[in-house]
Symmetry: C2
Amino acid sequence: MRIEDAPGRSIQDDYPDDVSHCYGCGRLNPEGLRIESRWDGDDTVCVFTPRACHTAVPGYVYGGLIASLIDCHATGTAAAAASRARGLEPPSNTLPRFVTASLHIDFLRPTPLGVALEVRARAEEMTKRKVVVSVTLSAGGVPCARGRVVAVEMPASMTRSSADGG
Amino acid sequence: MRIEDAPGRSIQDDYPDDVSHCYGCGRLNPEGLRIESRWDGDDTVCVFTPRACHTAVPGYVYGGLIASLIDCHATGTAAAAASRARGLEPPSNTLPRFVTASLHIDFLRPTPLGVALEVRARAEEMTKRKVVVSVTLSAGGVPCARGRVVAVEMPASMTRSSADGG
């Protein structure tokens, strides 16, 4: 079964447990944002409604949250796109984990607070261990920020089981 | 009195109240990170120790927090540098407020969780309403991320008093 055939299941649901604690997208981080990304054709989409505390100046969303949404949605997109390109069907909890090598964001206009934001991404380039992802964050259909993320497959040395020697 | 002569007072302490609610650096946001920036010669420095929940994968700091620290510290730096360049001594609560036009971050290596991070910045270029800020985030003296932020003076239309017509 392909990811897009299971609308209830997010890309992040397929991360292995030991790399699912991210503040932005980890399903095992009870204090985090727990963003969820899903395929939509060749794009991926994440919908997230900021909380009132996620203010920049009153009425607008804080740039650090916008960066977080773009970053985590892009690494999820990279993981899912790499998995798809490798011809791997995504069985539960075995998606590769990508981390961010570089993050670029152009803030096009202030992002209004109090509405759902759509973060839409696409894997634009892919090499063996690197995926370049373009991202647009919109509010009410109006693009507010554009991002470009270079994501690389996480080295095994970053996992706790490796660090612990386990 | 210059800002650097008052070590107890941060750059953010001099933002006007109505633009001091930012999740990253607003002293009036009780749920936020409340980062503080101070002059150190021609640099500015922010020291911040992430909480345990600010995890990327276990043992390392979440990239969205790194982006938040770089973003807010850079806009604070832009505000303070612009104020200094204009020959304004910073009386309480009248610092200009800058917002981010673009944010670029290169993640040089994983940032360890559990230690204080130093975010050091400098205003590299300045025009009438724009400041370009370079930023280095280090852990234990080792640079983990480098940033470049283009900050622009916030348009008056973004303030609540303006939005409210007040």
